[in-house]
């Protein structure tokens, strides 16, 4: 039963209560009953949404993979029908959907995804049947423009998200082939308009945050891709000010308590990432005005756009600050101060990396000081800290651009934080703090993710003895942490607990028998992803549900691009699993409809 009807019924009962026909206890009971019923149908609708999107992605992606097998032994006309038939089919289905009344919105999304992906498949197929040039650039552009109507006509947000991915990929391709990607901005506006319209209609704060994150991610990527690179190092200033702007702009929404601070989190992520990244010496080579590039392939006029973008960012930052709705408190100043080493480094590139080493250590340390970080902003500090921690670990592991004494300093830093956070902080002791739980969860899932690649079929240990001990230890620690987290998460659900406990058996089996565990690891990680989604939905934790969605979609995307498996095998598996999701949805939405009619 939908929300409108619940509301209507409750209104009627309210009248009955005010007229004295029923007692207020009866009214409370009725209210409770409908609240529960509305929540349960809400949850079911969410499951339908997730499954519909996964199903669409799998079927559309599967068809692209199957077509990419290159059936060159068939005649050209048959090959043409291979891509035209599914395209026409999805167009007919879409037309049918548009003519029907009362279609659940999720069907638009599922079909929208498949439709959008099939447009890409058609463009790809024409170019491969006739062996026309290999430029990815024009492929992405034709795909994006050809698929644009799907966003608006099928009202599909999922298609809009795919469209964002395609235009971002186009900007990357255009940039790497020496072209200019300024066209990205109008293309982006077309999708942003659609998505902003739909978050205004939706009202769900999670959905709003999700869309905000996506838009910010696409802009962050394309900001760099559409730069003209005439003035080397301009990207440093532009990115640092962009992230500072995001962080400060969050303050404009301070009054809105229900808001998820998407801009603030993105700003935190960006600032922390830049803080670690810019400590790398090689990024500061050839930066500044003395290295302006004048070769023909650098578009001097288009480069004006870079200065305009930077100017706009500076004006916006000033605007946010001068609007007086954002207080320049210690936290805001701390995050914004990344502009100091950025500007300093830009003017004196020789010291850029040193400036950032100093900044990063100070920044990281101040994130742990309680007196600076008030409870309300704890969240940003934790996010920043987790990121700094993970990226420093990665840095230490790959040993890139760090001289020995910096490694030493960073290790000391990590140890200080460990002790400080772990042993001496009463309220957020080790293992209970959200930030540390996130570290455990992420590292555990990353290991499983690594195992899902076929080239890691058997556990490979580095030749170096010390390294391999470290490797083993980190596997055990983070694997254990992940298992612990998952067990806590699924404590009360026996079936999920069984699935999880099967995993060690699988690992042992593959190690001792030497059989390929790739398929099992993949299915296992996918099952965990889906289990985490369902858990999140039933436990009303959107954070958990989103983590599950990210795990499943990341797995689908990497298998899509995985070079080591054949196109036909992947395509077949994708379509099969996708059909299962869609069939489940057909059955489930019918049942839901019957329930609602009752």
């Amino acid at each position: 039963m939908n929300k409108k009807r619940f509301k209507w019924i409750l209104r009627e009962f309210e009248i009955l209560k005010s007229e004295g026909v029923i007692s207020s206890e009866v009214f409370a009971d009725v209210q409770n009953y409908y609240q529960r019923k509305s929540e349960s149908s809400d949850n079911k609708a969410k499951i339908l949404t997730v499954f519909g999107i996964l199903g669409g992605l799998l079927i559309g992606g599967g068809i692209i993979l199957l077509l990419a097998h290159n059936w060159s032994s068939f005649s050209r006309i048959i090959q043409v029908s291979f891509f035209l038939a599914p395209l026409i089919a999805v167009q007919l289905i879409s037309g049918g959907l548009l003519l029907k009344n009362n279609v659940r919105h999720i069907w638009y999304e599922t079909i929208g995804i498949i439709y959008f992906l099939l447009i890409g498949a058609a463009v790809a197929m024409v170019s491969r049947i006739y062996h026309t040039g290999g430029e990815l650039e024009s492929f992405f552009l034709v795909w994006a423009i050809g698929g644009l109507p799907v966003l608006y006509l099928l009202k599909s947000d999922a298609a809009a998200v795919l469209y964002l991915a395609v235009i971002t990929a186009w900007a990357a391709a255009a940039q790497s082939s020496g072209g200019s990607a300024v066209l990205y901005w109008p293309l982006f506006a077309a999708a942003a308009l659609k998505l902003i319209l739909s978050i205004r209609n939706s009202g769900s704060r999670y959905y709003r945050a999700f869309i905000e994150f996506l838009l910010i991610a696409s802009v962050s990527a394309s900001l760099g891709l559409s730069l003209e690179k005439v003035l080397p190092g301009m990207w440093i200033l532009i990115y640092c000010s962009f992230f500072v702007l995001l962080f400060l702009a969050e303050g404009l929404y301070q009054g809105n308590r229900s808001r998820i601070p998407a801009a603030g989190i993105s700003g935190t992520i960006g600032i922390s990432a830049m803080a670690v990244l810019l400590t790398i010496d090689s990024l500061w080579e050839d930066v500044g005005f003395s290295f302006i590039r004048e070769a023909h392939r650098f578009h001097q006029t288009a480069a004006a756009a870079d200065y305009v973008v930077f100017g706009i960012l500076v004006v916006l930052i000033l605007f946010v600050i001068l609007s007086r709705r954002v207080k320049l408190n210690r936290v805001n100043l701390m995050f914004s101060s990344i502009l100091i080493p950025a500007a300093g480094g830009f003017l004196f590139p020789a010291y850029g990396a040193v400036f950032f080493h100093v900044f990063t250590l100070l920044f990281g340390y101040s994130l742990t000081i309680k007196e600076i970080i008030k409870d309300k902003q704890r969240f940003f500090a934790d996010t920043g800290l987790v990121l700094l921690f993970l990226s420093m670990l990665i840095h230490l592991a790959i040993y890139d651009g760090f001289s020995a004494h910096w490694i030493f300093l960073y290790s000391c830093f990590l140890i200080v934080i460990f002790i400080k956070k772990g042993l001496f902080s009463g309220s957020c002791g080790f293992g209970t703090d959200k930030a540390w739980r996130a570290v455990c969860f992420i590292s555990g899932i990353l290991i499983l993710y690594g195992l899902s690649f076929s080239r890691f079929d058997l556990p490979i240990f580095p030749d170096d003895e010390l390294l391999s001990i470290g490797f083993l230890l980190s596997m055990i620690i983070s694997g254990g942490a992940a298992a612990w987290y998952l067990i806590m998460l699924f404590k009360r659900e026996r079936s999920s607990a069984i699935i999880i406990s099967v995993f060690p058996v699988v690992v042992l089996l593959t190690i001792f028998t030497g059989m390929s565990g790739t398929l099992l690891y993949n299915l296992y990680l996918f099952a965990i992803g889906i289990a985490v989604v369902l858990k999140g939905i039933s436990g009303k934790s959107m954070k958990t549900a989103n983590a599950g969605i990210i795990i499943s979609i990341a797995l689908i995307i990497t298998r899509f691009f995985d070079v080591d498996m054949s196109f036909t095998a992947r395509g077949g598996a994708f379509i099969l699993i996708g059909l299962l999701f869609v069939l489940f949805n057909v059955y489930f939405s019918r049942r839901l409809k019957r329930e609602e009619l009752k």
Partner: protein
């Protein structure tokens, strides 16, 4: 009323999408049916494209020496006139910035210019191949590239070019691999 207008727009868009894909098929088929055949010597390898599958990357030893190369710029679109040599293989003979009224020519983008030598982004630089044969094709090429003939046949019509077939050791590539 609003719904029916919406539906008409949908039909138009769907028709446009179909028209675009079918028309590019027809366009290429026309070149293949009516275009003139040219052979170019190639240097194939076996890379991978996540959306379009495996292909043989075609590399050519083709460039043009022109005394007025200074008139042209990197990235400029020009018309390159083809000339068939005595050995049956075609080569680039001259360059023009307007479309020639007769003869065989291809519209191409200038990749870069070095002195008098002009290099082009050749539009037929990929030959897509069944993934079951891709690896085999590469190995066969390694074997055959010395001494035997590897070339592609391209049909050329009104400035457009479409690959017809890749030949290894004088045979179409799939036939070669099957034998």
């Amino acid at each position: 009323m609003r719904k029916s207008i919406f539906f008409i727009i949908f039909i138009l868009c769907a028709a446009a999408q179909l028209f675009l894909s079918v028309s590019s098929v027809v366009f290429n088929e026309r070149v293949l049916a009516r275009g003139e055949v040219h052979r170019f010597r190639t240097v194939p390898v076996d890379p991978y494209d996540p959306f379009r599958g495996k292909y043989v990357d075609l590399d050519f030893d083709l460039s043009l020496t022109s005394s007025d190369s200074g008139r042209y710029q990197d990235g400029e679109k020009v018309f390159v006139i083809l000339e068939r040599g005595a050995d049956g293989y075609s080569d680039f003979s001259s360059i023009s910035d307007t479309s020639p009224s007769a003869g065989n020519f291809i519209k191409m983008e200038i990749d870069y210019i070095s002195g008098d030598e002009i290099y082009f982004n050749i539009p037929f630089d990929r030959y897509y191949i069944d993934e079951d044969y891709a690896e085999e094709a590469e190995r066969a090429y390694q074997r055959e590239s010395i001494g035997t003939e590897t070339y592609i046949e391209v049909r050329v019509l009104n400035g457009r070019s479409v690959i017809e077939e890749l030949f290894l050791g004088g045979l179409p590539v799939i036939d070669y691999l099957k034998s």
